[in-house]
Amino acid sequence: MKQKQQSSLRTYISKSYLALIIIAAVMIISLGLFLVGFIVLDGTLQLVFEIVGGSLLLLSLIGVFVLFILSSEKQYNLFYNTLYKGSMKNLEAIKDRNLEVDQIPDESVKEFQEINEIFNDINDQYKGKIITSKEGDIENIPLEYFDDEKVLVSYDSLMNNIVDLIIVTKSFRNALVEIYYDLQAEDISENDEKRILNKIKEGLQYKNLLISKNKKQNGFIIYVPVFDSVSQLQEEIEGLFRHISIIKRTNEGRKIVAPKVAIVIYPYSSPENMVNDLAIAKRSDKTINVFLPSKENKANNSPLFENLNVNELAKISERLDLLDIDDVDGQKEINRALNDICNYFSFTSVGYAKLNKVKKQFLCEYSYSPEEKHLVLQEKPISAKFINKLVEVKDSDQSYYFSNRQHLNDSLAAFIDSHEIKSGLFYLVMKDGIAVGVIYYLNNDKEMEYDCSIKQGLINISNKIGNYIKSIDDQHIANINAKRFQEVLKLNNDILYSVNPDDYSLFFVSAALQSICPSAQIGEKCHKALYGSDTPCKACPLVTKKHMVEILKRRKFETSVVLHNSEDKAEHLYLKPMEKNKNTSDLFSPDFLINSYYSFCSYLEDEFALEHEGEILFLNIDNVPQLIKSLGNDGYIKAIRNFFDAIREEIDMNLTLYLYKNDNFALLFPSSSKEDVISLTESLYSLAKQNMVGSKQAALNISYYDFKYPESSKEYKLWINHAEKVMTGLRRGKKTDLIYFNEDKYTRSASREEFMLQNVLEAFKRKKYFMEYQPIVGNRDRVIHGAELLLRLNDPFTNAPLNIGEAINIVTKHNRIDLVAEAMTDCLEKLFQVADLPFFQSMGLEHLSVNVDYQTLSDKSFIESFDSLTKKHNVPKGFICFEVPESDIMDHYDEFRDLHFENEVLVCDQYHGELLRLDQLQAIGFKEVKMSRDVILNIINDDVALQRANDVWKFANEIGMFVTFVGVEKRQQADLLHDDVRDSNFQGRFFYSPMSEEKFFKTLRESSIKSIADLDN
């Protein structure tokens, strides 16, 4: 094949010059001919010479012109299109720290080929590498220094280069600290400045520390490039405090002014937000406020951050340090950490499996795969053989790592190949030399070449997760054992308690003892709890080393120390009843393992003797025959026990349960309010309906009877008789799941939903609802601009307000939302009859909001009646706002697109920002958001909540939406959210609580007078 001939730039340029020289020569010759003909010759020869010379000259001029055109085009292609553009593209790539360069697309030119060879070399040399700055080298950052030490810089240059500074120093933590005074700039003398700066440099000895004056010139901003721990930095700053106060001269004399400090830290604040976060940190009242809004740093596409894998692991690991076995979200936190690792390192799948001791299998408890390619399936077993092999081949740090299939132990090959795993890391959770769990990070599509620091980081994290899993298991086993122990003691009616011999405090009390003596609680002194004495018993067996005979609750017991164990520092005391006629065998029901009827009577006897008051809730199981039929006798007993266990776990560990008679039980507690008894019964109802025995349904139908004692009875037996008569009479009715209040002779459903439905429907039908108004005030002027209308219903029995949200949910569930809509228009109609629009507008009221949902807004009859109401009373556009919860909008997002309201404003209520973005809300017609009280209530102590509130506000401002902060209950919340620049509203009890119509009008008048007075000022 003929090779394409390669040209050369040099050759081309040489040729161009040659052509030019030739043409120039021809021009000279032709000019010469022409001149010779013109000057020297005459006649025909003159003409010939002139014509030839002139023609040649013309031709050479044309030649020059053509050469110029051709050469320009060629040069354009060669130099501009190919060389310049090709090189520029690569230079820009290098500027962006991307070292993968493209070839110049023209191999026909020799020089280009040479350049391409260099580009290839660059590609080869820097493949897999990235450009980073030298550690801590900030030389190239354009800071404006004011001193030779290069510590003092200008404010603008520091603020403008914060992001670059953080990138350059490339450490896990950088801090921006502002030390500021409650003074004007002129109050700080030059001497003070000098002194403070010296102290700061002395106290914060960090390389590349930078200090500038702050914007208001009443303090200093310090950039700390690297530090070890937040507490250490805080301590160093606290150490400055005794040296940097300033004297201020006032009319009252000299005042010593100490500084305040605000600290923000990367990566808790993103580099771009450090300055804003510092401003937020300064709003707090604290002397030193360390503002840590977020512990997450999003994965960054910049290749610089590819090199920060270890730092990313460190961040994840740090989160796990906060894990506590009592933390209800502990499991979620572990799963989240594994997800983050999986996403960051692009594993195919991560997860963990635990040993199920009963089934003797390792079951996968959690598996995560971003692309749903689970290499181990959740809830499926992992081969125990494989785990045993892993134990054999693992390293001493409990891990097994293989970077690719070639480096795999043969004994593991079968499992690995069968699951198509190409590389991975396993970490075995060991306990007493036995594997009880395994954590895995696996790939099915690539090798895993990690250096030792990353591998170690993964192992460290796995170690923390493993320890947490073991702790949870241990705690679970300890709880089961403790419960079993108590049940065994109950079966034998053993009265046992344990004390700390140093201070006699109780730390274990058997159920039998609690039954006799309810005041025996953990932490109490035994002599006080059992015998009512402030000092230890004189005959205490711990002191005398002899048995003690003592009367406890009118019965004689012999107390002795038992269960000696050299490792156990506690002392265990056993009470043996001494009376021959009475014994403790009746203290517990052996079937249900709760206090017996004997205990019930004994307790009641004591209560009556001491003239105490209290309350008893009797529980009568109405469906015993059905339960025995479906579960058998043993199953029925188990069902009842499960129910009581659930009561202790979900409601109250300390509720005392008694077997009353047959299938009747009693709950004893101190005199309580009606609301508390109702709340308790509703909880019992829920538990009764969810009751299970194994996997079988074992729902209980229960009738509840509430009695107070002693009422008019002087003796407990008479009281029991009276209660029994009442209950017998009531039991003749066939209905179940009802609560009967003996004091008020009132009966209602034990089911909250049923009760709510009955009462809500009734209340709406009979118009037994009313409105309350909660004013909304402006952020800056604190004047009432609007109000939220709150529909209220009361419980007819307790007269306490019902949860209106719950009521509306129930009504919606039963397709009676029209009642709510009707109630709302009814209330508005009444309101506008009392006070018309001109009145509201003259009082400065700009809007009224009502709470609705999609169901209501899509109900034609509601819209029609609402429209006619607004027309009738000339309600202006934008006066009425419809508040819809964020979750409801999310559920009906597409349907909201079809809803259009000309006069009313749509407001997103209870906004968290977790379901919908602000622009998404704006796209379907929402103009405003009301930030959820759950977020606002926490902003004082939770920096993440404060950051979220500020972020929402900032973004809302940018896109033209308005924000109301709901749940402002304290001054500090208002101060943290106050902003002189951006407008917003506040709603909360710090300003105004919900109030009646009359009070609202009065408050509105007062507020409008205040706003007029402010205007005048």
């Binding site: 102290k199 005794r242 004297i247 004399g253 000299r254 100490a258």
Partner: protein, 245 residues
């Protein structure tokens, strides 16, 4: 010359600002002293004095060189008695070394006593009275006379107090015992030259416990009160004869 001694800058900031015609002098190539007048009385304000070792050595030199007539010690101290609160003002009635035990070195030496020196160094009664009147005049009523006990290791003060509180000990006899690190050294130097001294310090917290940065704000407010009172006291003294210990 009246000498005012403090440890940190904040201890003496009030007095530095109150000085007229202030000049700075470096003493022993190390210590910055501000010299000027307060209410026509020559005053030297000294800071960065930590521990009684330094205070006794430094003051021995300064008293002799600058003809010091009396010494005020200012700053903070720690209370032993829980009734003394953060922000209360302690006036030294007497001072002793809490961390000295030379009993075995010389027969008859008491706990806290350096052989050849008294166990207790007393502040001048009239100076105490003047100080109390001055505090009253500036509206302070949260002051009390205390025994100042020297301590060089604040972190373990609880144990020290416990030891010293046993039976017939100083700390037990006087319930208002406070700990600081400078006063008794000053008292020792003052004793050598037979000049009066008084310590007027703000209580920072309980002995042996960490104090928070927020309680420091309370202390700073009291510093102003102490500053005013000491200034008034100096004014009073300048009208009267020089006190002799």
């Amino acid at each position: 010359m009246i000498l005012i001694v403090g440890s940190n800058h904040d201890d003496v900031i009030y007095f530095q600002s109150a000085l007229k015609d202030a000049k700075e002098e470096i003493i022993l190539n190390k210590y910055r002293a501000s010299i000027g007048t307060i209410l026509n009385q020559n005053v030297m304000v000294l800071q960065d004095v930590y521990t009684s070792y330094v205070s006794s050595a430094l003051l021995t030199h300064i008293i002799e060189k600058y003809f010091v007539l009396m010494v005020f010690v200012v700053g903070t101290c720690f209370a032993q008695n829980k009734a003394l609160k953060v922000g209360d003002i302690a006036i030294s009635e007497m001072a002793t070394f809490g961390d000295v035990d030379q009993i075995k070195m010389l027969k008859g030496t008491n706990l806290g006593q350096i052989p050849g020196y008294p166990q207790l160094f007393y502040s001048h009664k009239e100076l105490i009275r003047n100080m109390e009147e001055a505090l009253n005049s500036v509206g302070a009523n949260n002051y009390m006379r205390c025994t100042f006990m020297n301590s060089s290791y604040y972190r373990r003060d609880e144990q020290l107090i416990e030891e010293l509180s046993m039976e017939d000990n100083i700390a037990n006899r006087n319930k208002n015992t406070v700990l600081d690190g400078v006063t008794t050294g000053v008292a020792l130097a003052a004793h050598l030259f037979d000049i009066p001294f008084i310590s007027v310090k703000v209580i920072e917290g309980q002995a042996g416990q960490r104090t928070s940065i927020d309680s420091y704000m309370t202390i700073l407010e009291e510093y102003s009160v102490v500053g005013k009172a000491v200034t008034v006291c100096i004014g009073e003294i300048s009208r009267n004869d020089v006190l002799r210990g």
